[in-house]
Protein backbone atom coordinates (compact mmCIF):
# COMPACT_ATOMS: atom_id res chain seq x y z
CA UNK A 1 0.00 0.00 0.00
CA UNK A 2 1.45 3.28 -1.07
CA UNK A 3 1.23 5.89 1.60
CA UNK A 4 -0.15 9.02 0.01
CA UNK A 5 -0.59 12.13 2.09
CA UNK A 6 -4.21 12.98 2.69
CA UNK A 7 -4.25 16.36 0.91
CA UNK A 8 -2.83 14.75 -2.23
CA UNK A 9 -5.58 12.13 -2.26
CA UNK A 10 -8.12 14.87 -1.74
CA UNK A 11 -6.70 16.87 -4.63
CA UNK A 12 -6.61 13.83 -6.92
CA UNK A 13 -10.22 12.94 -6.18
CA UNK A 14 -11.14 16.57 -6.63
CA UNK A 15 -9.38 16.77 -10.00
CA UNK A 16 -11.18 13.68 -11.29
CA UNK A 17 -14.51 15.04 -10.11
CA UNK A 18 -13.72 18.40 -11.69
CA UNK A 19 -12.78 16.78 -15.00
CA UNK A 20 -16.10 14.96 -15.01
CA UNK A 21 -17.92 18.17 -14.09
CA UNK A 22 -16.13 20.14 -16.80
CA UNK A 23 -16.80 17.52 -19.44
CA UNK A 24 -20.46 17.28 -18.55
CA UNK A 25 -20.75 21.04 -18.37
CA UNK A 26 -19.17 21.39 -21.80
CA UNK A 27 -21.94 19.23 -23.24
CA UNK A 28 -24.66 21.07 -21.34
CA UNK A 29 -23.34 24.50 -22.29
CA UNK A 30 -22.91 23.66 -25.98
CA UNK A 31 -26.50 22.47 -26.00
CA UNK A 32 -27.73 25.52 -24.07
CA UNK A 33 -25.80 27.90 -26.29
CA UNK A 34 -27.21 26.44 -29.48
CA UNK A 35 -30.73 26.23 -28.10
CA UNK A 36 -30.62 29.84 -26.93
CA UNK A 37 -29.21 30.94 -30.27
CA UNK A 38 -31.99 29.08 -32.01
CA UNK A 39 -34.81 30.45 -29.90
CA UNK A 40 -33.52 34.02 -30.04
CA UNK A 41 -33.56 33.70 -33.82
CA UNK A 42 -36.94 31.97 -33.65
CA UNK A 43 -35.83 28.59 -34.90
CA UNK A 44 -35.72 25.34 -32.92
CA UNK A 45 -31.93 24.90 -32.65
CA UNK A 46 -30.62 21.32 -32.53
CA UNK A 47 -33.61 19.02 -32.74
CA UNK A 48 -32.87 15.83 -34.63
CA UNK A 49 -30.37 13.86 -32.49
CA UNK A 50 -32.25 12.50 -29.53
CA UNK A 51 -35.39 14.07 -28.05
CA UNK A 52 -35.21 17.83 -28.70
CA UNK A 53 -31.64 17.36 -29.92
CA UNK A 54 -30.36 16.60 -26.46
CA UNK A 55 -27.72 14.20 -27.77
CA UNK A 56 -26.38 16.67 -30.34
CA UNK A 57 -23.39 17.85 -28.24
CA UNK A 58 -22.49 14.21 -27.60
CA UNK A 59 -22.53 13.53 -31.33
CA UNK A 60 -20.37 16.62 -31.88
CA UNK A 61 -17.92 15.45 -29.22
CA UNK A 62 -17.66 12.00 -30.79
CA UNK A 63 -17.05 13.65 -34.15
CA UNK A 64 -14.31 15.85 -32.70
CA UNK A 65 -12.59 12.93 -30.99
CA UNK A 66 -12.70 10.90 -34.15
CA UNK A 67 -11.14 13.53 -36.38
CA UNK A 68 -7.61 13.39 -37.68
CA UNK A 69 -5.06 15.64 -35.98
CA UNK A 70 -3.26 17.69 -38.57
CA UNK A 71 -0.13 19.75 -37.97
CA UNK A 72 0.09 22.48 -40.58
CA UNK A 73 3.17 22.80 -42.77
CA UNK A 74 5.75 25.09 -41.24
CA UNK A 75 4.13 25.01 -37.81
CA UNK A 76 6.18 24.58 -34.66
CA UNK A 77 4.81 21.16 -33.77
CA UNK A 78 5.79 21.13 -30.09
CA UNK A 79 4.34 24.53 -29.26
CA UNK A 80 1.42 23.90 -31.57
CA UNK A 81 0.30 20.83 -29.64
CA UNK A 82 1.31 22.19 -26.26
CA UNK A 83 -0.97 25.21 -26.65
CA UNK A 84 -4.38 23.50 -26.27
CA UNK A 85 -3.10 21.61 -23.23
CA UNK A 86 -1.70 24.77 -21.68
CA UNK A 87 -5.06 26.37 -22.32
CA UNK A 88 -7.08 23.57 -20.78
CA UNK A 89 -4.97 22.42 -17.81
CA UNK A 90 -5.07 25.67 -15.77
CA UNK A 91 -8.83 25.79 -16.22
CA UNK A 92 -9.07 22.58 -14.18
CA UNK A 93 -6.84 23.98 -11.45
CA UNK A 94 -9.10 27.02 -11.20
CA UNK A 95 -11.92 24.81 -9.95
CA UNK A 96 -9.94 23.59 -6.92
CA UNK A 97 -10.54 26.50 -4.51
CA UNK A 98 -14.13 27.20 -5.58
CA UNK A 99 -16.57 26.59 -2.73
CA UNK A 100 -19.49 24.83 -4.42
CA UNK A 101 -21.32 24.36 -1.16
CA UNK A 102 -20.84 24.83 2.58
CA UNK A 103 -19.00 21.49 2.76
CA UNK A 104 -18.06 21.14 -0.88
CA UNK A 105 -14.71 22.87 -1.33
CA UNK A 106 -11.83 20.91 -2.69
CA UNK A 107 -8.94 22.81 -1.13
CA UNK A 108 -9.82 25.61 1.20
CA UNK A 109 -6.79 27.88 0.82
CA UNK A 110 -6.40 31.46 1.92
CA UNK A 111 -5.23 32.72 -1.46
CA UNK A 112 -7.98 31.04 -3.50
CA UNK A 113 -8.90 34.22 -5.28
CA UNK A 114 -5.29 34.90 -6.24
CA UNK A 115 -4.88 31.32 -7.41
CA UNK A 116 -7.81 31.64 -9.78
CA UNK A 117 -6.68 35.01 -11.10
CA UNK A 118 -3.16 33.71 -11.67
CA UNK A 119 -4.17 30.53 -13.46
CA UNK A 120 -6.77 32.19 -15.69
CA UNK A 121 -3.97 34.50 -16.78
CA UNK A 122 -2.15 31.48 -18.23
CA UNK A 123 -4.79 31.13 -20.91
CA UNK A 124 -3.37 34.19 -22.66
CA UNK A 125 -0.04 32.42 -23.00
CA UNK A 126 -1.72 29.40 -24.53
CA UNK A 127 -3.61 31.45 -27.08
CA UNK A 128 -0.43 33.37 -27.88
CA UNK A 129 1.47 30.12 -28.47
CA UNK A 130 -1.37 28.72 -30.57
CA UNK A 131 -1.46 31.79 -32.76
CA UNK A 132 2.29 32.03 -33.09
CA UNK A 133 3.03 28.39 -33.80
CA UNK A 134 0.24 27.88 -36.33
CA UNK A 135 2.14 29.65 -39.11
CA UNK A 136 -1.07 31.30 -40.20
CA UNK A 137 -1.80 34.99 -40.44
CA UNK A 138 -5.31 34.70 -39.05
CA UNK A 139 -4.05 32.79 -36.04
CA UNK A 140 -1.33 35.33 -35.43
CA UNK A 141 -3.75 38.24 -35.69
CA UNK A 142 -6.15 36.49 -33.35
CA UNK A 143 -3.37 35.89 -30.83
CA UNK A 144 -2.20 39.50 -31.02
CA UNK A 145 -5.75 40.67 -30.42
CA UNK A 146 -6.20 38.30 -27.52
CA UNK A 147 -3.06 39.49 -25.78
CA UNK A 148 -3.82 43.18 -26.01
CA UNK A 149 -7.42 42.49 -25.00
CA UNK A 150 -6.50 40.37 -22.01
CA UNK A 151 -3.79 42.73 -20.83
CA UNK A 152 -6.22 45.61 -21.01
CA UNK A 153 -9.11 43.87 -19.28
CA UNK A 154 -7.09 42.24 -16.51
CA UNK A 155 -6.68 45.66 -14.90
CA UNK A 156 -10.33 46.66 -14.42
CA UNK A 157 -11.07 43.03 -13.51
CA UNK A 158 -8.67 43.20 -10.58
CA UNK A 159 -9.76 46.72 -9.68
CA UNK A 160 -13.37 45.59 -9.47
CA UNK A 161 -12.47 42.66 -7.23
CA UNK A 162 -10.47 44.80 -4.80
CA UNK A 163 -13.53 46.47 -3.19
CA UNK A 164 -14.92 43.00 -2.43
CA UNK A 165 -11.62 42.05 -0.78
CA UNK A 166 -11.86 45.22 1.29
CA UNK A 167 -15.45 44.51 2.31
CA UNK A 168 -14.89 40.90 3.25
CA UNK A 169 -11.31 41.32 4.40
CA UNK A 170 -10.29 38.02 2.91
CA UNK A 171 -8.85 36.35 -0.17
CA UNK A 172 -10.38 33.05 0.80
CA UNK A 173 -13.36 32.31 -1.45
CA UNK A 174 -15.11 30.31 1.25
CA UNK A 175 -14.85 33.20 3.71
CA UNK A 176 -15.99 35.67 1.08
CA UNK A 177 -19.05 33.47 0.52
CA UNK A 178 -19.89 33.12 4.19
CA UNK A 179 -19.40 36.83 4.85
CA UNK A 180 -22.51 37.40 2.77
CA UNK A 181 -25.95 36.50 4.02
CA UNK A 182 -28.62 34.30 2.58
CA UNK A 183 -30.91 36.99 1.25
CA UNK A 184 -30.23 39.02 -1.91
CA UNK A 185 -29.99 42.33 -0.02
CA UNK A 186 -27.10 40.91 2.01
CA UNK A 187 -25.03 40.18 -1.06
CA UNK A 188 -22.13 42.35 -2.17
CA UNK A 189 -23.87 43.23 -5.45
CA UNK A 190 -26.05 45.59 -3.42
CA UNK A 191 -23.01 47.40 -2.03
CA UNK A 192 -21.00 47.20 -5.24
CA UNK A 193 -23.34 47.34 -8.25
CA UNK A 194 -20.83 49.24 -10.36
CA UNK A 195 -18.05 46.80 -9.53
CA UNK A 196 -20.33 43.94 -10.53
CA UNK A 197 -21.08 45.49 -13.93
CA UNK A 198 -17.40 46.19 -14.54
CA UNK A 199 -16.50 42.68 -13.42
CA UNK A 200 -19.08 41.14 -15.71
CA UNK A 201 -17.95 43.15 -18.74
CA UNK A 202 -14.37 42.18 -17.97
CA UNK A 203 -15.09 38.47 -17.70
CA UNK A 204 -16.88 38.66 -21.05
CA UNK A 205 -13.70 40.11 -22.51
CA UNK A 206 -11.40 37.74 -20.62
CA UNK A 207 -13.28 34.64 -21.75
CA UNK A 208 -13.40 36.00 -25.32
CA UNK A 209 -17.16 35.95 -25.41
CA UNK A 210 -19.24 37.99 -27.80
CA UNK A 211 -19.46 40.96 -28.13
CA UNK A 212 -15.73 40.86 -27.29
CA UNK A 213 -14.88 37.71 -29.24
CA UNK A 214 -12.27 39.45 -31.35
CA UNK A 215 -9.56 36.77 -31.00
CA UNK A 216 -11.76 34.32 -32.87
CA UNK A 217 -13.95 36.74 -34.85
CA UNK A 218 -15.19 34.18 -37.34
CA UNK A 219 -16.23 36.73 -39.95
CA UNK A 220 -12.85 38.47 -39.97
CA UNK A 221 -10.24 35.92 -38.90
CA UNK A 222 -11.89 32.61 -39.90
CA UNK A 223 -11.49 31.24 -36.37
CA UNK A 224 -8.65 33.38 -35.03
CA UNK A 225 -6.04 31.57 -32.98
CA UNK A 226 -7.58 28.11 -33.46
CA UNK A 227 -8.01 28.34 -37.24
CA UNK A 228 -5.54 25.53 -37.91
CA UNK A 229 -6.58 23.17 -35.12
CA UNK A 230 -8.50 20.04 -35.97
CA UNK A 231 -10.14 17.37 -33.87
CA UNK A 232 -9.45 17.43 -30.18
CA UNK A 233 -6.91 20.27 -30.52
CA UNK A 234 -9.85 22.47 -31.29
CA UNK A 235 -11.96 20.48 -28.85
CA UNK A 236 -9.64 21.29 -25.96
CA UNK A 237 -9.71 25.01 -26.76
CA UNK A 238 -13.46 24.80 -26.90
CA UNK A 239 -13.67 22.95 -23.60
CA UNK A 240 -11.21 25.41 -22.05
CA UNK A 241 -13.34 28.35 -23.19
CA UNK A 242 -16.43 26.87 -21.59
CA UNK A 243 -14.49 25.97 -18.44
CA UNK A 244 -13.25 29.54 -18.11
CA UNK A 245 -16.80 30.73 -18.57
CA UNK A 246 -17.89 28.55 -15.67
CA UNK A 247 -14.94 29.70 -13.54
CA UNK A 248 -15.72 33.34 -14.34
CA UNK A 249 -19.41 32.97 -13.56
CA UNK A 250 -18.58 31.04 -10.39
CA UNK A 251 -16.30 33.92 -9.36
CA UNK A 252 -19.05 36.42 -10.09
CA UNK A 253 -21.55 34.49 -8.03
CA UNK A 254 -19.11 34.02 -5.12
CA UNK A 255 -17.91 37.61 -5.07
CA UNK A 256 -21.15 39.41 -5.74
CA UNK A 257 -24.11 37.04 -5.45
CA UNK A 258 -23.46 35.30 -2.16
CA UNK A 259 -21.99 32.05 -3.51
CA UNK A 260 -23.76 29.04 -2.05
CA UNK A 261 -25.82 31.18 0.32
CA UNK A 262 -29.43 31.39 -0.63
CA UNK A 263 -32.85 31.90 0.89
CA UNK A 264 -34.37 28.98 2.82
CA UNK A 265 -31.65 26.38 2.32
CA UNK A 266 -28.06 27.20 1.50
CA UNK A 267 -26.24 24.68 -0.59
CA UNK A 268 -24.62 23.78 -3.87
CA UNK A 269 -27.99 24.08 -5.63
CA UNK A 270 -28.03 27.81 -5.05
CA UNK A 271 -24.47 28.06 -6.30
CA UNK A 272 -25.19 26.15 -9.52
CA UNK A 273 -28.40 28.09 -10.02
CA UNK A 274 -26.53 31.40 -9.84
CA UNK A 275 -23.71 30.18 -12.07
CA UNK A 276 -26.12 28.93 -14.70
CA UNK A 277 -28.21 32.08 -14.54
CA UNK A 278 -25.07 34.11 -15.23
CA UNK A 279 -24.04 31.76 -18.04
CA UNK A 280 -27.44 32.14 -19.64
CA UNK A 281 -27.10 35.92 -19.40
CA UNK A 282 -23.71 35.60 -21.10
CA UNK A 283 -25.27 33.64 -23.95
CA UNK A 284 -28.17 36.05 -24.15
CA UNK A 285 -25.66 38.89 -24.53
CA UNK A 286 -23.81 36.96 -27.21
CA UNK A 287 -26.87 36.56 -29.38
CA UNK A 288 -27.94 40.17 -28.86
CA UNK A 289 -24.94 42.36 -29.54
CA UNK A 290 -22.78 42.65 -32.63
CA UNK A 291 -19.03 42.32 -32.20
CA UNK A 292 -17.28 45.56 -31.21
CA UNK A 293 -14.43 46.97 -33.24
CA UNK A 294 -10.97 46.64 -31.76
CA UNK A 295 -10.47 50.32 -31.04
CA UNK A 296 -13.90 50.42 -29.42
CA UNK A 297 -12.96 47.45 -27.29
CA UNK A 298 -9.82 49.12 -25.99
CA UNK A 299 -11.58 52.46 -25.61
CA UNK A 300 -14.24 50.91 -23.40
CA UNK A 301 -11.52 49.48 -21.21
CA UNK A 302 -9.05 52.36 -20.92
CA UNK A 303 -11.46 55.27 -21.07
CA UNK A 304 -14.40 53.90 -19.09
CA UNK A 305 -13.84 50.75 -17.11
CA UNK A 306 -10.47 51.58 -15.55
CA UNK A 307 -11.36 55.14 -14.43
CA UNK A 308 -14.76 53.97 -13.19
CA UNK A 309 -13.29 51.06 -11.26
CA UNK A 310 -10.62 53.33 -9.77
CA UNK A 311 -13.25 55.80 -8.62
CA UNK A 312 -15.29 52.95 -7.22
CA UNK A 313 -12.27 51.57 -5.40
CA UNK A 314 -11.36 54.92 -3.88
CA UNK A 315 -14.94 55.53 -2.83
CA UNK A 316 -15.15 52.10 -1.20
CA UNK A 317 -11.86 52.62 0.62
CA UNK A 318 -13.09 55.97 1.87
CA UNK A 319 -16.41 54.58 3.13
CA UNK A 320 -14.69 51.66 4.88
CA UNK A 321 -12.17 53.96 6.57
CA UNK A 322 -14.92 56.28 7.76
Amino acid sequence: MINLPMPLIQILIGLVAILAFVGLNGLVLVYLERKIAGHVQRRPGPFEVGPHGILQPLADAVKLVGKQLITPKGADAVLYWAAPIISFAPAIVCFLPIPFGPTLTNININAGLVLILAFTGLNVLALCLAGWSSQNKWSLLGAARDISQSVAYEIPLLLSILPIMMLSGSLNLYEISTSQGAWPWQWYIVYQPLAFIIFFVCILAETNRAPFDLPEAESELTAGFHTEYSGMGFGLFFLAEYSYMIVACAMASILFLGGFNGPLASGWWWFLLKVYALLIVMMWLRWTYPRVRFDQLLNICWKWLIPLSLVNLLFTALVIKL
Binding site: H39, R42, P44, W284
Partner: protein, 183 residues
Amino acid sequence: MMVKKIKQTFTDLWSLVVGLKVTGKNFFQPQLTVHYPRETVDTLDGYRGHVELVPKKNDPFNPICIACGTCAKICPSNCITLHVKKVTEPAPSAKKEDSASQEPVQNNQKAASPKKPKTKRVLEAFELNYNYCSLCGLCAQSCPLGGLRFSKNVYLAGVSPKEFEIDLLARMRSQSQIAKEEN
Protein backbone atom coordinates in the same frame (compact mmCIF):
# COMPACT_ATOMS: atom_id res chain seq x y z
CA MET B 1 -20.31 69.55 -23.99
CA MET B 2 -19.46 67.33 -21.06
CA VAL B 3 -23.09 67.07 -20.03
CA LYS B 4 -24.06 66.16 -23.57
CA LYS B 5 -21.41 63.46 -23.66
CA ILE B 6 -22.55 61.93 -20.40
CA LYS B 7 -26.15 62.06 -21.56
CA GLN B 8 -25.15 60.31 -24.77
CA THR B 9 -23.41 57.61 -22.76
CA PHE B 10 -26.55 56.91 -20.81
CA THR B 11 -28.69 56.75 -23.95
CA ASP B 12 -26.13 54.36 -25.41
CA LEU B 13 -26.27 52.21 -22.30
CA TRP B 14 -30.05 52.22 -22.43
CA SER B 15 -29.89 51.02 -26.04
CA LEU B 16 -28.07 47.92 -24.76
CA VAL B 17 -31.04 47.18 -22.53
CA VAL B 18 -33.40 47.74 -25.45
CA GLY B 19 -31.40 45.22 -27.47
CA LEU B 20 -31.70 42.66 -24.70
CA LYS B 21 -35.43 43.30 -24.58
CA VAL B 22 -35.75 42.59 -28.30
CA THR B 23 -33.90 39.27 -28.17
CA GLY B 24 -35.54 38.33 -24.89
CA LYS B 25 -38.97 38.89 -26.37
CA ASN B 26 -38.14 36.89 -29.47
CA PHE B 27 -36.83 34.07 -27.31
CA PHE B 28 -40.29 33.37 -25.96
CA GLN B 29 -42.20 33.86 -29.18
CA PRO B 30 -43.26 30.94 -31.39
CA GLN B 31 -40.77 29.70 -33.92
CA LEU B 32 -40.96 30.74 -37.53
CA THR B 33 -39.23 27.76 -39.08
CA VAL B 34 -40.70 24.30 -39.58
CA HIS B 35 -39.17 20.87 -39.07
CA TYR B 36 -38.60 20.17 -42.71
CA PRO B 37 -38.96 16.51 -43.48
CA ARG B 38 -42.02 16.26 -41.28
CA GLU B 39 -43.56 19.61 -42.10
CA THR B 40 -43.45 21.76 -45.19
CA VAL B 41 -44.54 25.28 -45.93
CA ASP B 42 -47.09 26.25 -48.56
CA THR B 43 -46.28 29.93 -48.90
CA LEU B 44 -44.05 29.72 -51.94
CA ASP B 45 -45.54 32.58 -53.96
CA GLY B 46 -42.39 34.62 -53.96
CA TYR B 47 -40.06 31.69 -54.29
CA ARG B 48 -37.56 31.59 -57.12
CA GLY B 49 -36.76 28.03 -58.04
CA HIS B 50 -35.06 27.14 -61.29
CA VAL B 51 -36.73 28.43 -64.46
CA GLU B 52 -39.38 26.39 -66.19
CA LEU B 53 -41.12 26.56 -69.54
CA VAL B 54 -44.60 28.03 -69.68
CA PRO B 55 -47.04 25.83 -71.57
CA LYS B 56 -49.46 27.22 -74.08
CA LYS B 57 -52.84 27.96 -72.62
CA ASN B 58 -54.87 25.83 -74.97
CA ASP B 59 -52.19 23.21 -75.51
CA PRO B 60 -50.50 22.31 -72.23
CA PHE B 61 -48.14 19.85 -73.91
CA ASN B 62 -46.38 22.47 -76.01
CA PRO B 63 -44.45 25.43 -74.71
CA ILE B 64 -44.92 29.05 -75.67
CA CYS B 65 -41.22 28.97 -76.51
CA ILE B 66 -40.39 29.61 -80.18
CA ALA B 67 -36.82 28.39 -79.73
CA CYS B 68 -35.34 31.74 -80.66
CA GLY B 69 -32.41 31.16 -78.31
CA THR B 70 -32.35 34.60 -76.66
CA CYS B 71 -32.32 33.03 -73.20
CA ALA B 72 -29.35 30.83 -74.05
CA LYS B 73 -27.47 33.82 -75.44
CA ILE B 74 -28.13 36.13 -72.51
CA CYS B 75 -27.42 33.61 -69.76
CA PRO B 76 -24.24 34.76 -68.01
CA SER B 77 -23.37 31.26 -66.86
CA ASN B 78 -24.25 29.46 -70.10
CA CYS B 79 -26.68 27.23 -68.32
CA ILE B 80 -29.18 26.91 -71.14
CA THR B 81 -28.76 24.76 -74.23
CA LEU B 82 -31.51 24.55 -76.80
CA HIS B 83 -31.83 21.50 -78.98
CA VAL B 84 -33.70 22.73 -82.02
CA LYS B 85 -34.83 20.83 -85.06
CA LYS B 86 -35.49 22.82 -88.18
CA VAL B 87 -38.62 21.56 -89.90
CA THR B 88 -39.46 22.62 -93.41
CA GLU B 89 -43.17 23.09 -93.38
CA PRO B 90 -45.15 22.49 -96.51
CA ALA B 91 -46.34 25.84 -97.83
CA PRO B 92 -49.57 27.00 -96.22
CA SER B 93 -52.63 25.54 -97.84
CA ALA B 94 -52.86 26.24 -101.57
CA LYS B 95 -56.48 27.27 -101.35
CA LYS B 96 -55.74 30.17 -99.16
CA GLU B 97 -52.99 31.24 -101.45
CA ASP B 98 -55.27 31.05 -104.42
CA SER B 99 -57.96 33.10 -102.81
CA ALA B 100 -55.38 35.59 -101.85
CA SER B 101 -54.06 35.85 -105.33
CA GLN B 102 -57.53 36.12 -106.82
CA GLU B 103 -58.43 39.06 -104.76
CA PRO B 104 -57.28 42.32 -106.13
CA VAL B 105 -54.43 43.70 -104.18
CA GLN B 106 -56.02 46.69 -102.63
CA ASN B 107 -53.76 47.52 -99.76
CA ASN B 108 -50.24 48.49 -100.31
CA GLN B 109 -49.13 45.86 -97.84
CA LYS B 110 -46.25 43.86 -99.02
CA ALA B 111 -47.41 40.31 -99.06
CA ALA B 112 -44.86 37.94 -97.69
CA SER B 113 -43.59 35.77 -100.45
CA PRO B 114 -45.92 32.85 -99.91
CA LYS B 115 -44.33 30.51 -102.32
CA LYS B 116 -41.14 30.06 -100.35
CA PRO B 117 -41.34 26.99 -98.08
CA LYS B 118 -41.27 28.06 -94.44
CA THR B 119 -38.75 26.56 -92.04
CA LYS B 120 -39.94 26.32 -88.49
CA ARG B 121 -37.75 25.88 -85.45
CA VAL B 122 -39.10 23.13 -83.29
CA LEU B 123 -37.88 22.71 -79.76
CA GLU B 124 -36.72 19.19 -79.08
CA ALA B 125 -35.17 19.67 -75.68
CA PHE B 126 -34.54 22.63 -73.39
CA GLU B 127 -31.55 21.71 -71.33
CA LEU B 128 -30.95 23.66 -68.13
CA ASN B 129 -27.76 23.07 -66.21
CA TYR B 130 -28.93 24.23 -62.79
CA ASN B 131 -25.48 23.62 -61.27
CA TYR B 132 -24.20 26.89 -62.65
CA CYS B 133 -27.41 28.92 -62.52
CA SER B 134 -27.30 31.96 -60.25
CA LEU B 135 -31.05 32.59 -60.51
CA CYS B 136 -30.46 36.06 -61.96
CA GLY B 137 -33.60 35.75 -64.05
CA LEU B 138 -32.20 37.35 -67.18
CA CYS B 139 -33.53 34.45 -69.29
CA ALA B 140 -37.07 34.93 -68.06
CA GLN B 141 -36.77 38.69 -68.43
CA SER B 142 -35.42 38.60 -71.96
CA CYS B 143 -37.83 36.05 -73.36
CA PRO B 144 -39.87 37.88 -76.02
CA LEU B 145 -43.00 35.85 -75.34
CA GLY B 146 -42.81 35.31 -71.62
CA GLY B 147 -42.14 31.64 -72.15
CA LEU B 148 -39.99 31.19 -69.07
CA ARG B 149 -40.85 31.61 -65.42
CA PHE B 150 -39.45 30.66 -62.04
CA SER B 151 -40.70 27.35 -60.80
CA LYS B 152 -41.63 26.67 -57.21
CA ASN B 153 -39.45 23.60 -57.07
CA VAL B 154 -38.11 23.98 -53.53
CA TYR B 155 -37.46 20.44 -52.47
CA LEU B 156 -34.55 19.83 -54.73
CA ALA B 157 -31.72 17.63 -53.60
CA GLY B 158 -29.48 15.15 -55.29
CA VAL B 159 -26.32 13.18 -54.95
CA SER B 160 -24.60 14.09 -58.20
CA PRO B 161 -24.39 17.18 -60.41
CA LYS B 162 -25.95 15.12 -63.20
CA GLU B 163 -29.27 15.32 -61.37
CA PHE B 164 -29.36 19.07 -61.83
CA GLU B 165 -29.09 18.96 -65.60
CA ILE B 166 -32.77 19.19 -66.28
CA ASP B 167 -34.61 18.91 -69.56
CA LEU B 168 -37.28 21.53 -69.03
CA LEU B 169 -39.38 20.46 -72.03
CA ALA B 170 -39.70 16.90 -70.76
CA ARG B 171 -40.36 18.24 -67.27
CA MET B 172 -43.14 20.51 -68.50
CA ARG B 173 -44.74 17.68 -70.49
CA SER B 174 -44.63 15.25 -67.59
CA GLN B 175 -46.15 17.88 -65.31
CA SER B 176 -48.93 18.54 -67.81
CA GLN B 177 -49.51 14.79 -68.01
CA ILE B 178 -49.84 14.61 -64.25
CA ALA B 179 -52.21 17.57 -64.23
CA LYS B 180 -54.28 15.94 -66.93
CA GLU B 181 -54.54 12.68 -65.08
CA GLU B 182 -55.59 14.45 -61.94
CA ASN B 183 -58.44 16.27 -63.66
